[in-house]
Symmetry: C2
Subunit: 469 residues, 2 copies
């Protein structure tokens, strides 16, 4: 059945890509209210396809949270009729997770082809969401279709599918659903394809993720915008204040100065550190081709992989307010914002990290300035166990497709749902992703290497087969 499903997938490659393109044309940018209709269209697109391929109980589940009162819907589907094994034991249930929302596409002028008009170039498919996560989520759907088709409408395992539309805005909707209706997602393992391979041709499982807190610091000075000629020297300047605050958050080397911030940080195991050293990683090549800056930054004494996988970091994403047009406006703005986030590692908790951040920022607030320090969203850091049958099934599946041993890495980004699955559903997650390091996630010219799209589908088909065997 697995071999027939692989054959089906191979024969239908062109159609699978065409369908993905249709999905990518929907600008489902979850953070921008003006795209709410598009986000819903993307949900309906996914639901319709799950229904078409033979999944059951397909429905949209509305979400409503404090953060997003008009939340974007979850897409749910299941198929729970896998024949028990010869010994009568029921087959395991796999919970497939993905997200259909995408990051905003700006800056638009840096895209070579428009972000919502998918274009194939050099074996890659370029579009916002190509790899994060529409393309990878679509691999799940297409693997299920291939198995359904080869199995005469049956799957080798029980499957539930949950696809969210708020991953890029914190995912509070699905987190709340998992907390309140975990029974509807009962499973033995979760499968998440929202990560990348460490290098081309190198099958990779991600076994650790950083958590995060995304914050806004709002600084208010004068009651209204003032003329910097008339009031410069007397009125507090919110941008200068934010600069003074930000400059005290990290030292010149990149060490975070928030008191207590590193207290709970766990060092990776010696075995893990040793394995990371063996990975094919060339720091100079990484600087040159991936980052493209004159030099790298970060805490001295740690390798790049340690700094991005196993150390907390702090970044500023934008500083709205004041005058941002071309030319000159001599204003002392009444208020300014800094959007700052911190990545967390085990055993830090978002709640404690935010409390430390807020207390410290408030303690260094410059004269004449009033601050409002807000938590926009957060996610737990996690490390998953590598010692279970599902991880073994995944490595086996990828070995067959790639002909190579799988490497275990961590990811620097956050997939908060993995922590929720672990904590609320008590299920381990297999993070089997097929992105590449140069896929430009969250940046202009995001792409998905199409060979990996197809290898991903085959790997997932084989994973289901191995789990069901």
């Amino acid at each position: 059945m697995v071999q027939a499903a692989v054959g089906f997938a191979q024969k239908n490659r062109a159609r699978f890509v065409d369908e993905l393109k249709s999905l990518l044309r929907i600008p489902s940018v979850s953070t921008l209210p003006e795209h709410a209709g598009d986000v819903r269209r993307a949900a309906e697109f996914v639901a319709a396809e799950l229904r078409r391929i033979g999944m059951e109980n397909v429905r949209l589940i509305e979400t409503e949270t404090k953060e997003h009162p008009d939340g974007h819907p979850l897409v749910y589907a299941d198929w729970l009729h896998a024949a028990p094994a010869a010994d009568g034991k029921p087959k395991p249930t796999v919970l497939c997770y993905g997200h259909y929302d995408v990051q905003p596409p700006d800056p638009l002028d840096e895209w070579k082809s428009p972000p919502f008009e998918p274009e194939e170039r050099d074996g890659n498919l370029y579009a916002r969401g190509a790899v994060d996560d529409k393309g990878q989520m679509w691999m799940h759907v297409k693997a299920l279709e291939s198995l359904m088709s080869a199995g005469g409408g049956k799957l080798p395992v029980n499957v539930r599918v949950i696809v969210e539309g708020e991953e890029e805005v914190g995912g509070e909707g699905i987190a709340q659903f998992v907390r309140e209706h975990g029974d509807q997602l009962k499973a033995d393992v979760a499968l998440v394809s929202d990560t990348e391979m460490f290098a081309p041709e190198l099958p990779t499982l991600c076994v650790g993720l950083r958590g995060m807190i995304y914050t806004e610091i709002e600084a208010r000075g004068a009651r209204t915008d003032l003329h910097s000629g008339m009031y410069g020297g007397a009125a507090p300047n919110p941008f200068v204040a934010l600069a003074q605050i930000i400059a005290k958050l990290k030292d010149a080397d990149g060490k975070i100065l928030i008191p207590g911030f590193y207290d709970k940080v766990q060092k990776p195991t010696d075995a893990e550190l040793k394995a990371w050293k063996a990975l094919p990683f060339d720091e100079e090549h990484y600087r040159e081709t991936e980052v493209g800056s004159s030099s790298l930054t970060g805490e001295p004494g740690y390798s790049v992989l340690e700094r991005t996988w196993a150390r907390p970091t702090l970044d500023v994403h934008g500083m709205p307010g004041g005058f941002t047009g071309a030319g000159a406006k001599t204003v002392i703005p009444a208020r300014a914002l800094a959007k700052a986030s911190m990545r967390l590692v085990p055993d830090m908790t978002p709640a404690e990290a935010f409390a430390q951040f807020k207390a410290y920022v408030e303690s260094i607030c410059p004269k004449g300035i009033v601050l409002d320090v807000r938590l926009i969203h957060s996610g737990d850091p996690i490390v998953v166990s590598t010692d279970n049958a599902f991880i073994r099934a995944a490595t086996e599946a990828m070995r067959e497709v790639f002909g190579k041993e799988t490497v275990f890495v961590r990811g620097g980004g956050s997939i908060p749902i993995v922590g929720d699955f672990e904590r609320e559903l008590k299920v381990p997650t297999v993070m089997m992703g097929f992105g590449l390091p140069d896929d430009n996630l969250h940046a202009p010219n995001e792409k998905f290497h199409l060979a990996n799209f197809h290898r991903g589908i085959e790997s997932i088909v084989r994973f289901f087969g191995a789990v069901g065997a």
Copy 2:
């Protein structure tokens, strides 16, 4: 003749305000390219009125500078037929200066009535440009009309009028014209109404102005926008870099840390400092009603008037780049900007100040960041002499209108043209302005107190009379 002109102005008050409203409806925002047509319409509006009231040689003079290749036009007019005095001596020539361009109106949502729909409330006229400088420039035109009308088409002095459309973007067009065609502006004194009265009912002449340099610091890190989860801890962050730079430009007290920046600063004379101490200034009232911040900032050891009139200052106006929308985008932007300006006082020069700024900023550039430090525009600081017949004529004119002695103050803002007139044309400037401290220049809800509009016209009529006597 002067008395008849004052009578004419009083009879035509309503019409004068209506005309000003028509001018204020034209959104002549010089810094925004999309308003170029509006800026020209405002120039044509002013030229048409100068022609109608009987001024001669009225014309638009196109400007073209490196900064603004498609510059906004100057409006020129003259009337040079004043009858010589009884002893045969020719009457002096007054050069009236104003500007018809305005600052951008943002943030729009803080305006109580739309910025380009003038509205009268409580004796004030609210609109962008009401006082800076359309309303004050219009006082000149209406004073000339009143004198023309009372004098049967004649004025008591020779008059040239030059009105620019680039004051809010650096005024390089008029500066170039003054340098290259100074002979066309030959005069004995310049009259500038672009300043304010120190307090309501207190006739004020401004005798000193701060200069300025307006700069942009562009910081570039990675080649493209990167995901802060994947690259946080390795990729340089341009916002963090700009924050580190800005935090080193001023200390916590507001002292500028740029080496050599204060070297050329001249202390005001003891007489000037004594006069400032005698001005009706209540720091707590100023903090509460004008600034509205929890406390004032600035260099310790200097009064607010010294800090805003006679000390250099540094402000940040906006920090474009990165993600500024609602919600969260976890991007490490490839580039970010800081718009920063410094106010200069005698005897600082913009060229030296910018060189010091640029060298210092480059010397503290953080690792992994490439900087581009640009000068957007600049203006000289100036102090004008108070010992001449024109200043005496102005104080006399205002004493008649206000019934009070005139106070001499400085302004914290910049009117670069005053320096150009002094340097290139060798003429002193009388800065007789009728704004009020709470007029919200460059801010939402800009206004002009209409009583001051009318008293300004009368004062200018009397000034022309006194100069011609």
